[in-house]
Symmetry: C2
Amino acid sequence: MPEINIKYLAKQLNLAPSTVSRALNDSYEISEKTKVRVLALAKELNYHPNPYARSLRDHKSYTIAVIIPERINNFFAQVIDGIEKVTRQHGYHLLVYNTHEELDIERKILSFLLNGRVDAIVMSVSSQTSKIDHLLQLYQKKLPVIFFDRICDEFPTTKFITNDYQSGYDGTKHLIQKGCQRLVFLTLSKDLSISKERLRGFKVALKDYGMEFSPNQVIVCMQEEDENIKLIGDLLGSEDRPDGILASVEKLAVAIYKAVRNTSLKIPQDLKLISFSNMKIADILDPPLSTISQPAMEIGIACADLLMKKLTKKDHPEFEDRIIMIPSKITIRRSSGE
Amino acid sequence: MPEINIKYLAKQLNLAPSTVSRALNDSYEISEKTKVRVLALAKELNYHPNPYARSLRDHKSYTIAVIIPERINNFFAQVIDGIEKVTRQHGYHLLVYNTHEELDIERKILSFLLNGRVDAIVMSVSSQTSKIDHLLQLYQKKLPVIFFDRICDEFPTTKFITNDYQSGYDGTKHLIQKGCQRLVFLTLSKDLSISKERLRGFKVALKDYGMEFSPNQVIVCMQEEDENIKLIGDLLGSEDRPDGILASVEKLAVAIYKAVRNTSLKIPQDLKLISFSNMKIADILDPPLSTISQPAMEIGIACADLLMKKLTKKDHPEFEDRIIMIPSKITIRRSSGE
DNA sequence: AACGAAATCGGAATCGATTGCATGATTAAA
DNA sequence: TTTAATCATGCAATCGATTCCGATTTCGTT
């Protein structure tokens, strides 16, 4: 079978490749008659232009990189679905990378993207990311970047987040009002943007309700679930064990459930729990989990909408350095006391 | 800032682009001295070859397409993690596409991949896929394809699956031994390879234990969860409601839990349930869900290993037309009666 | 000193699609 | 009938990296 490229089409039609190209691109210079002939054959042979030849000439790849720290995660999966929904309509393709929360992997991935492989990047940084030198390279190369959720404050671009401070505040307030005296905040990292904001809400809520804050109310967890279960188990076995937990990451809520299983404690009687989570099955857990769920699909769509504007309209200005906030939704279920 | 390409490097070093290219590729024709100079500058300027120029010449994209029917799904997410783990080590990139279980989308995606954009495809077909004309195009174009889980029997290539027949049989047997009299099999489609096999196991188990099978024991569900909850609700409200369900897809198990909430029935007392599922939180559901979980990560790794062999070794033969089976693991929990 | 082989490197074509410029053909206007 | 204008198409360069082939230099050997 011969390679079906533009030269082959041209030969079959007894035309020059340039004419075929123009016909396919509906140029005004080509007669209707010729266009019809060309399009007919292209359709018959199921011809599609070689994307790499086009990319080489146009310096556009029609490809976008999506970088996330975790794939088995409802939030990120939904965001990607949102991004894909929009970009697909514009003929863009998605390269998806998982950093597994590791800075080294994040670094390596970004270095692969600096050479024109993608037209833009949409990312949520790893929990290990505190220095941002590897990100600044993108800025120097003028590669458009949008951050969502776990953003990078120092990087001047548009960022999409949820109202983390407010959600942290509201979740904490809720626990206090349910009678919790010894509150704990669980997180993956102290450097993460979302953790900082959610923790800030936690602290302010404590203060507003006349409670002291002490640093050991913040527990920084690990990557491995087993380690976290142990960590939380120790916490629950301690003298002044917490009676209320705000988990800033979905997987930590799961670890709490599993850790509690190993004790004689009961949720919510002995321990009230609320967690940031996009699980669609929060209400069939035992007990149903109170959640702060983020508008993941909307975030994905918003990111992609902005991106498509920038990429499809020429001379579109660089992304403004600003933060766009879409509110999360808090849903009280039995884990925090009905 | 000048574009950093091979010509720029050549000019800086007072060499020809061809020499620079050879030096970068560690050719024997280039002296050590020159190689050192070239590599030093390349490193300093953080030079990476333009991937599209290389692809155009080599007819290789170092890119693989992964096509799945659903992204918010633990099984598929784990498989992709497995694929990425292997392919990343070989410098390959992953384009990930979600068909949302729609045949039209699957068709469209495949048509985008026929022009050299990817070197191979790893996919699990949508539940609507019964005709396979759109897949056969890939075969004609000699584009390597590997199927996993939801395979396409008529397509001659290597396929990775789990022991669906056996799992279906074992799950059904378990329900029977727990005393279920009126069993029902829930599925997304009658055409899907996995559904057929799992159903076959269901039927044979019934027969082996002296139970009649009637076609209305098979319920074909919808895409929308709300519809499924209603469908299952009706089922549970009927005269001869089932007392045991084998759900062939994770999301259907979730729908069952939610449907049961609307009734006065109790799992497992009134209804025993076991489901194919890769949820990591099956044991914190209320009640904990008995699962048949597939070795997702292993499947992904196996697919990618085979693929990498084919793509990195020249003159590697086409994929054999065979099926490789990796067994699932059945875990009994309280939803099927302790 | 001279010759040949090996070691190094440069020139130019190539991959496939696009596009500025030139050319040829057709038609309308003078 | 001639000229100008419009229309339709072809030629050739380009994008960046690679590689075949040819050219030059270096070195060892007689």
